[in-house]
């Protein structure tokens, strides 16, 4: 059960909740379940997101494992110049 923090403007799709409890062993599972549980999040997920796990930002990393005590934060997909 990972604790996932989503950014404020996405909360209209989750009934106002910022911290979501998602049962998932890795990032891919977590993203799939997020989209299934809150379909309003799907467009943003499709556009792309990065995931921060315990302070390290993963731009892709679907297979990154999630532990119950992992701090997971959803972020817009990182870009650079």
């Amino acid at each position: 059960m990972a604790n996932v923090l989503i950014w404020s403007s996405l909360r209209s799709h989750t009934g106002g909740q910022a911290n979501l409890q998602i049962e998932a062993g890795n990032v891919r599972e977590m993203l799939d379940k997020l989209g299934d549980s809150y379909p309003g999040l799907k467009p943003q997920l499709q556009r792309g997101v990065s995931v921060s796990i315990d302070g390290i930002i993963f731009r892709d990393g679907w297979l990154e494992p999630l532990k119950p005590e992992s701090e997971v934060v959803l972020l817009p997909r990182m870009v650079g110049g």
Partner: protein
């Protein structure tokens, strides 16, 4: 990949950290190096693009019949030659629409048609013969104007995302973002001082000296080759292949040397057009942009309008921070407003923080990344207000930052909790720097700011092959935009324990190496470097195995040290060490060629923090600002080649100085760009500047074997505020609109009351 030896303070390096000459250096100082426009092919045609003179217009019809009859014209393409193969991918569709206009021309300079002809003069004549029937529409180029109800709407199906209830009317507002935590309203109640201000910055261009250029060669067998100056040739291949509906493996892209990118060459503009022209003409087609086309038809950064409100208690502690950012990204969605919103307060430890961002479209060219996209403008606004608060509370600027600085364990304003970061270290180091103690003269002011960029890792692939004489060919997939080849060779030679000049780096084309992400995001030394280190370690394993074979002992009993395979201990046997050269000489007989390989999607890129200090002198008669002293302090984690790290610090700082003082896109009432050339789009020149002093800090990044952090982008983040703060102190006026050009400064001085001047 974790840091080697996390316990020991610093690994002792032999080569990493030295300053050898770069391997491509001689080619670049003799004019031998070949850039985008330097390639030729037999039978080559010249390609030129016809562009909309209108900021917003329906394209009713395009008549190419007269142009087709002109002798020397071999192919003409329009939107009809670009069928939609984007398969529902909205962002890719925008790229397609930007590359060649479809129903409408959405900005002055939008590509409408293109020709390939036997000479430049025939191509130019042909463009004049193409008849486009435009229905001119009202246009809008200012971000705040574009958001108003009643503004001309660019996309009839654009309904703002991220707002409740969902709008029923189309507008130019793509999306609303919000980040933050805590309760800003409650926080402000505890503030002893609150400053609320609005800021505006104008669009700027990356300003690379080399215009976009490419040479496309499309064969009747459906295979194509492309020579192009780009930050990412794999990205060019994949994007063009998708747009043209061809197999990725049928398009081979070679990256030329690149004359600057800074993010502006991380997408495609002319490349799909060159390919389609070449396909139609069945001959190679070279397309080179003019400087005017670069300004009008590539990807400048966003202009921004921002409101900031910060409250602090008397001791300097910020209790609440609130900000709204409005960025226009040109005619299509995707301004970097969310990154501005995330980066704005990122250096600080805040209990209550909120940033709201609006992505807005208007009739300007589609924006592209520019070094830390979205962050410089946001940083300008926030650091200006923090400076004002420091001044009101009579707290030194640097202390105001130190009091509120984020550290390990701080919850960042954008969500994650920070690991080990170097912000406090750069601030403490800056505080001790002699720059702060240097005396200031008349009409001079000192400013500072701190800032950061996220950095990321991304995909890299590296192969290293050991030659018969023990020298090494290192093949990488990252175009070298700032000297990275030298760093790759340093890291590889360090691992192998051989001299630097025994390793030669080559940038492979898309047909000869696995995928590498674009050279951006300050990722090359970090991610491609990591792949080089791992490829070298892979080769070392194999070299040890060969030595084991030669000695007749087990592989586990062999170790690698300073370029030699050695028995691991006295029990392994008494064998003289074998050098890389000696093992290489026996490669054929011991199993064949020896190579090392690694590919990865690197993560764990650490953030890079910086503090900048600037002294500015203002001439009150002319409004001219001269930068008299500038210092950059930035955390590099580990500086592999210090000269090129310094180069990134200096280059980014000077781009920021230009953004603060001179550079801006100036639009006429007709929606046309008024200053599409280097005379009136004024970037800093040599005589504008002093030496740019640099201090490299090295707080190791735990996510990299050597501790490397990306450095390329952070240095453009603090200078806008640093310069604005310096000028504001020099003249006693808070400058809230960039650039602080002489006319703007003079106007501000005229409106300044005399008593305020005395007080400051």
């Amino acid at each position: 990949m974790p840091l080697d030896n996390p316990q020991s303070a610093a690994r002792k390096f032999n080569l990493v950290g030295t300053r050898p000459v770069r391997p491509d250096g001689v080619d670049k100082v003799t004019g031998r190096a070949r850039f985008g426009a330097d390639a030729v092919a037999p039978g080559m045609l010249v390609g030129r693009i016809l562009r909309s003179p209108h900021a917003h217009a329906k394209i009713k019809s395009i008549d190419t019949s007269k142009a087709e009859k002109l002798s020397g014209v071999k192919a003409i393409v329009t939107r009809d030659d670009f069928p939609d193969k984007t398969d529902g991918d909205a962002l890719l569709y925008d790229v397609l629409y930007n590359v060649m206009a479809r129903e409408k021309a959405l900005y002055e300079g939008h590509a409408v048609a293109a020709v390939a002809a036997t000479s430049a003069s025939v191509a130019r004549q042909a463009l004049k013969l193409i008849k486009v029937d435009y229905e001119v529409l009202p246009h809008v180029t200012d971000v705040d104007e574009a958001m108003k109800p009643g503004a001309p709407v660019l996309h009839p199906k654009m309904f703002t995302d991220g707002v409740e209830p969902k709008p029923k009317k189309a507008s130019n507002i793509v999306r609303r973002y919000e980040f933050g935590h805590g309760d800003v309203a409650a926080g402000f109640k505890h503030a002893d001082v609150i400053v609320e201000r609005s800021f505006k910055t104008e669009a700027t261009h990356q300003g690379y000296i080399e215009p976009h250029a490419c040479l496309a060669s499309f064969g009747p067998d459906g295979q194509a080759e492309l020579w192009v100056c780009t930050q990412g040739h794999f990205m060019v291949r994949d994007t063009c292949a998708r747009l043209l509906g061809m197999d990725v493996s049928k398009l081979r892209v070679t990256a030329s040397e690149i004359g600057g990118g800074f993010g502006g060459k991380t997408t495609v503009f002319i490349e799909p057009v060159a390919l389609v022209l070449s396909k139609k003409a069945n001959r190679p087609v070279k397309v080179v942009m003019t400087r005017e086309e670069v300004f009008k038809s590539t990807g400048p950064t966003s202009s921004a309008s921002m409101d900031v409100k910060i409250g602090a208690t008397r001791d300097g502690r910020i209790v609440s921070a609130d900000m709204e950012l409005r960025y226009q990204g040109g005619a299509f969605q995707g301004s970097p407003v969310e990154f501005g919103a995330m980066a704005a307060f990122a250096p600080y430890d805040l209990e209550n923080v909120r940033t709201i961002g609006y992505d807005v479209v208007c009739n300007r060219p589609k924006q592209a990344a520019y070094r830390a996209p979205g962050a410089p403008m946001a940083n300008f606004a926030v650091e200006s207000v923090i400076e004002e608060i420091a001044h009101k509370l009579n707290i030194p600027s640097i202390d105001m930052r130190i009091i509120n600085a984020a550290k390990e364990g701080t919850k960042s304003s954008y969500g994650p909790i920070y690991g080990p970061i170097g912000l406090r270290a750069t601030l403490e180091r800056a505080k001790e720097h002699p720059h702060f103690k240097a005396p200031l003269g008349k009409n001079q002011g000192r400013g500072m700011a701190c800032g950061f960029w996220f950095n990321f890792g991304g995909q890299s692939c590296v192969t290293m092959n050991v030659g018969i004489d023990g020298t090494v060919s290192l093949t990488v997939g990252s175009p070298d935009i700032g000297g990275s080849r030298a760093s790759m060779c340093l890291m590889t030679a360090e691992e192998l324990g051989i001299p630097y000049d025994k390793v030669r780096a080559v940038i492979a084309d898309t047909g000869t190496l696995g995928y590498s992400d674009v050279t951006d995001g300050s990722r090359t030394t970090f991610a491609t470097g990591m792949a080089c280190i791992q490829a070298a370690r892979d080769a070392i394993k194999k070299l040890c195995a060969r030595a084991a074979q030669i000695w007749g002992i087990s592989e586990e009993a062999v170790t690698w040290e300073n370029g030699y395979a050695k028995p691991a201990g006295p029990n392994a046997g008494d064998f003289a060490p074998l050098s890389l050269k000696e093992i290489a000489a026996q490669a054929a007989q011991t199993g064949g060629p020896i190579a090392g390989h690694y590919e990865l999607n690197a993560d764990g890129a650490g953030v890079s923090f910086a503090t900048h200090i600037c002294d500015a002198e203002v001439d009150p008669e002319t409004g001219f600002t001269k930068i008299t002293r500038y210092t950059v302090l930035q955390d590099a984690g580990k500086a592999v080649h210090p000269s090129y790290v310094e180069g990134q610090f200096q280059g980014g700082a000077v781009q920021g100085i230009g953004w603060a003082l001179n550079e801006e896109y100036i639009y006429g009432k007709d929606g046309r760009l008024q200053n599409a050339g280097f005379l009136d789009y004024r970037i800093p020149v040599c005589s504008d500047l002093p030496m740019i002093d640099t201090v490299i800090l090295e707080i190791p990044n735990p996510g990299h074997p050597y501790g490397v952090r990306g450095v390329g982008e952070t240095s453009i983040v603090p200078p806008l505020a640093t310069v604005a703060n310096a000028v504001s102190h020099a003249v006693g006026v808070r400058m809230t609109e960039l650039p602080i050009s002489p006319p703007k400064l003079l106007k501000a001085l005229e409106t300044l009351p005399q008593q305020k001047k005395a007080a400051e």
